[in-house]
Structure formats: structure tokens, C-alpha cells
Amino acid sequence: MTLRDLKLFLSANRGPLLALFVFVVMFSVFLHEHPRPVSVALLTAASNKGVVLALMAMAQTVPVLTRGLDLSVGSIMTMAACASSVVVHGPPEQAALGVGIVLAVGLVAGVINGVIVVIGRIQPIIATLATGAVYFGIALWLRPTPGGDVSEALSNALTYATLGVPTTFLLLIAVLVFVWLPFRRSVLGRGCYAVGSSEGAAYMSGVAVARSKIAAYTLAGLLAALAGLLLSLVALSGEASAPQAGGYTLNSIAAVVVGGTSLFGGSGGMVGSVIGALVLRTIGDLLFVFDAPPLWQPLFEGVILLLAVSLGAARVLRIKNRLELFT
């Protein structure tokens, strides 16, 4: 890699790299200030807390790349968690089948979103708002009261450490390497970026616009279901909680933006979103180790979130022609 390549890489990934820097600083402070010494158990607990939001941020990334948005990811996650509390139990074969069913549920939900957005030509933000209500209704129907029975064997297998590395973190890396990288290099993945940059130009260049967009929402549904599965494995139960679903949806958007993906589509990626999610999760942990008064914590978290998303405002200072602001 020459110096020029390095420069190009740095300028193309300014957002994710900045987020990574912030995360490394924050996490180092967290580990340094934590009353207990750094241990695998400590890292595993941190990873288990962060991995659900990281997966949700990854799910949100793909529709955002196409200049869309998926407001139903939180509901899909909740629906998957509730489904998991119904079907993922019993002997290994049965639990494995259950996992398959949960992921299939998310996949189908994603396809439905994609079809409504592409073929129905309804604005993504409002279409997924409506389908989100439907998915949340299904979650409530599956699990009217919190509870259920989730395979403890599977939970134990996934929420501890493998070879000294938190298993959930390995899973996250695996999804990045085996799902995201191939997808980004595929025709459909490139199509998502093209559609996000300019749908009209993508269409005129022969990009499979409809297929790319449907693929984006499908991948979002699948990853949201994976997040829901992990949520139910960590909690060992399912709960159809509206604040939780809404919170994850909104935080997934925040994580995507903090991770350097543009809400206007066409630039960014899942790696940045994962880092963005980890940054958001570490805020709460930091306040915890610094013994912030509990009553002040929500305010601190809010202010830090507002500052983090306002970092993008630096763009305003670089722009020379004011008209460029209005895009």
C-alpha cells in the first residue's frame, strides 16, 4: 500500500475512523476506571451488552445506504425474540430448527418491507412505520405476557467466551466477514450503493434497482431477527415491550450516523455502524464507572448523543458555496 492509497483510505473512511478513535479512548478509560481488573468475564459482559445494538445498527445500515430507512427493525427484533421464546428450546435438533424458524421470520418480514417499498412505491419511512405496527402486533400475539422458555444450552454456548474471546463478539465478526463483505462485493450490494447515490442514474445504468432495494430490506430483517434471537438468549425469555422496540429502532439510526454512514445514502458501511453502536453502548458504561449520580445519567447520555450526532456539523465549516448546504 503506497502513501497515496493510505491517504485515499483515510479520507474515504473519515467517519468510521473518527468513531473508532472515540470508541478506543472511551473503552480504555472504561477499562482503566473499572473497579475490577480487565478479565475475559468483563469483556464478555461488555460484548453481550453491545452485540444486540451492533446487529441492529448493521441491519439499519443497508436500507440507509439505499437512501431509505427501516423503522420496523425494532419490531422485527421484538417479534424474533418473542418467537424465539416460543420455539427455541428442547433438544439440540429442535432448538436448531427453532433458530431457523426465528431467522426465517425476520427474513420474511424484511422481504415484505422490501416489496411494499419497491413495488408498492410507498416512502420507506412510512411503510416501515406501518409494517412495524404489524410486526409488533404479532410479537404481542406470540407473547402477551413476558416469559417463555429459551434453550439454556444454546444461551450458555453463545453468551460466554470461546478461546478467551467473547463468543458474541466472534459472532459479530463472523457476520461481518461472511455476510457483509460478500454482500458488499456482490452485484446486489453494489446496486444498493448505486441506488443510494442516485436512483435515476442507477436505473439508467442498468442496475437492478428493485432487486437491490428488496435485498437491502431483506438483509435488514434477517439481521434484526438475529439481534432478537441474541436478545432472547441473553435474557432467557421474550417480552413484547414497545419502549424497547422503539428504543432499539432509534438507537440503530443514531449508531449508523455516528458510524459515518450518510442518511442521504450511497456512502458508509456496516463496519462503521458496529463501531457506532459500541460507542453508544460505552457511554452508559462510562457513566457507571465514574459513579455519575443515577438521576443525571439519562441527561448525560442524551447530551453526549446530541454532541456525537452533531459532529457531522463540521461539514458546514468546510463548505464554500452555500448552495451545497441545501442538498
Partner: protein, 317 residues
């Protein structure tokens, strides 16, 4: 003149009004008292709270932006008004203006964040929502604050004049003002122009940033007023009271024919959309549907209605 008036009532508004008829018919077939004047007036009273909250949000959506800080602006307006209301007669008189002033302040910050810092409004207001939530937790967490509604709030939200709920008058007053502003004033034209293409509006001499700040500020005020009215209705302000209003407000505005990308939509449509959403919700509860079924039908109906008249254009070049 008449043809212009008819043109102003565009197709989505007519279809949405048609859907109201369908909902009323289904409701009446389940229970005939669904269409009794008493019940309908009661529904309109409930609709006026959503209507007040959606009125300012519509301006923001006309700009092609969105305000996700609405839930906690509603709650904050309500809690701040109730907080001032306990300081004697002066406090009671100043409660509603103070609550709205707080909403105005939030709206100004939101507007400045988008118009001057150019942080996407969706994400900036999301952050504001978290900040407001933090402030309200801090305010109400340490002790049990007095959050009772003042008599004036109850008068506006619960009581009736000549058999018609006062809340409906408040909603109508706000509606007449906002509809006139949108239709008759330069500011209203600027809102549509900015929502259509901000750079074009700017080059035509519109000070688009001030227009944006204005719309967000109005939205903050109406959200807070909605919260204050809700406080009067339920006699108390409480945490999370604004949460159930964000999505129905957006849905009502879009079902009323306003383009979520901005630049297009009529105020009448928003009023119709609000009534439609409230009647739909009440029909589902009259059917004694469990919550799960209600959510599913609610979502499906919104998708179906948008498939009928809310479809976008094909993008081919």
C-alpha cells in the same frame, strides 16, 4: 373561484374522507351507538389532542423534515406547565404560556440544529428527545413533583360549551390560524417552496433558514400545548405521556395526503387524517380486539390506504 376551491381539496383528502365513511359504517354495523352524536363528539374531543400535536408537525413535514423530539416535548410542556401552575393565582395564569414557551425553546434549538448546523433533522431531534427525557427524569426523579392540572387546563380540555367540547374549539382555533398562515401568507408559500427545493427557494430570495427555524418553533409550541391539553384531560402530567403520539401524528399527516418528502400537502388533509386515525383506533377498541390484533389491523390499514393513494412516482431517470 368555485373550481379553484374544489381543486384545493385534492384527491388524497377526498379518499381519506371516504375511508372515514367506511370506518363509520363498519363501526355502526358492530354497534349502532358508534355513530351517535354523543359518541362522535367524544371521539372528536380525543382527536383534538392528536390534532393539536399533529398541526405543528405538519409544517415540519412540509419542509421534508421530521421532529422525533415530539414525545418528550409534549411531556416537557405538560410537566413544566403543571410545575408553574402550583405557584398561586399568578402561576395558574402563567402555566399554559410557560409550558408553550418551553416548547418554543425546544423548537428553536431543533430548528437551529437543522437550519444552521445542517445535522439531519431526524437525527438531531432524536438527540434532543434524549436530552429532554434526561432533563425531565432529573426534574421529577428526586422528589414527587406536583403535576396536577390547573383549573384552566381542565376547563379547556374537559369541559364543554353549548354541548361541544372546549378542546375542539382550541383545535379549531389553531387549525384556522395555521391553515390561513399556509394558504394566505408569504411565510406559508415559503414553507412549500423550501420543502420543494430549498436551493431554488434560497436563490429566489427566501431566507430559508429562518423559515425552517420558524416551522420547528411552531411545532415545539403546538406539541407543548398538546401536552398541556392532555394534562387537563387526565388531570395529571406524567413521564412518557407523549410517547403514544409520535407515530399516530406522522401517520395522520401522511394519510391526509402530505408528502413525507415535503413540499406538498393541505392542512385540511391533516385534519381529516387525524379524525381517520382516531376513528380507526376507536373502531378497533369497539370491536373488543385484543391489543395484538389492533396493532396488526392498524398497520395493515395504513399500508392499504397508502397503496390506494399514497404511491410515489416511478424513478426512471
Amino acid at each position: 373561484m368555485t373550481s379553484a376551491t374544489f381543486k384545493a381539496i385534492d384527491k388524497p383528502v377526498l379518499i381519506a374522507a371516504g375511508f372515514i365513511g367506511v370506518v363509520l359504517a363498519i363501526g355502526a354495523s358492530i354497534n349502532i351507538s358508534f355513530v351517535s352524536p354523543t359518541y362522535l363528539l367524544q371521539q372528536l374531543q380525543v382527536a383534538s389532542f392528536l390534532g393539536i400535536i399533529a398541526s405543528g408537525m405538519m409544517l415540519v413535514i412540509l419542509l421534508g423534515q421530521i421532529d422525533l423530539s415530539l414525545p418528550w416535548t409534549v411531556t416537557m410542556g405538560a410537566m413544566m406547565a403543571a410545575a408553574v401552575g402550583r405557584f398561586g393565582p399568578w402561576g395558574e395564569a402563567g402555566a399554559i404560556p410557560f409550558g408553550m414557551l418551553c416548547g418554543l425553546a425546544v423548537g428553536l434549538v431543533n430548528g437551529l440544529g437543522y437550519a444552521y448546523l445542517r445535522v439531519p433533522s431526524m437525527i438531531f431531534t432524536l438527540g434532543m428527545n434524549a436530552v429532554l427525557q434526561g432533563l425531565m427524569v432529573l426534574y421529577s426523579g428526586g422528589f414527587a413533583p406536583l403535576t396536577k392540572a390547573t383549573p384552566l387546563m381542565q376547563l379547556l380540555a374537559v369541559q364543554r360549551t353549548l354541548g361541544i367540547p372546549n378542546a375542539l374549539f382550541v383545535w379549531m382555533a389553531i387549525s384556522i390560524v395555521l391553515a390561513s398562515v399556509l394558504k394566505l401568507t408569504p411565510f406559508g408559500r415559503y414553507v412549500y417552496a423550501t420543502g420543494n427545493r430549498e436551493s431554488a427557494a434560497y436563490l429566489s430570495g427566501v431566507r430559508t433558514r429562518l423559515v425552517i427555524v420558524g416551522c420547528f418553533a411552531i411545532n415545539g409550541m403546538t406539541s407543548a400545548l398538546g401536552g398541556i391539553m392532555l394534562t387537563g384531560y387526565s388531570t395529571n402530567a406524567y413521564q412518557g405521556m407523549g410517547d403514544p403520539y409520535l407515530l399516530p401524528a406522522i401517520a395522520a399527516i401522511v394519510l391526509g395526503g402530505t408528502n413525507i418528502l415535503g413540499g406538498k400537502g393541505s392542512y385540511l388533509g391533516t385534519v381529516i387524517g387525524v379524525v381517520l386515525i382516531v376513528l380507526l383506533q376507536s373502531m378497533l377498541s369497539v370491536m373488543q380486539m385484543p391489543e395484538a390484533g389492533r396493532q396488526i389491523i392498524y398497520g395493515v390499514v395504513i399500508v392499504v390506504m397508502l397503496l390506494v393513494y399514497g404511491r410515489g412516482a416511478r424513478i426512471h431517470s
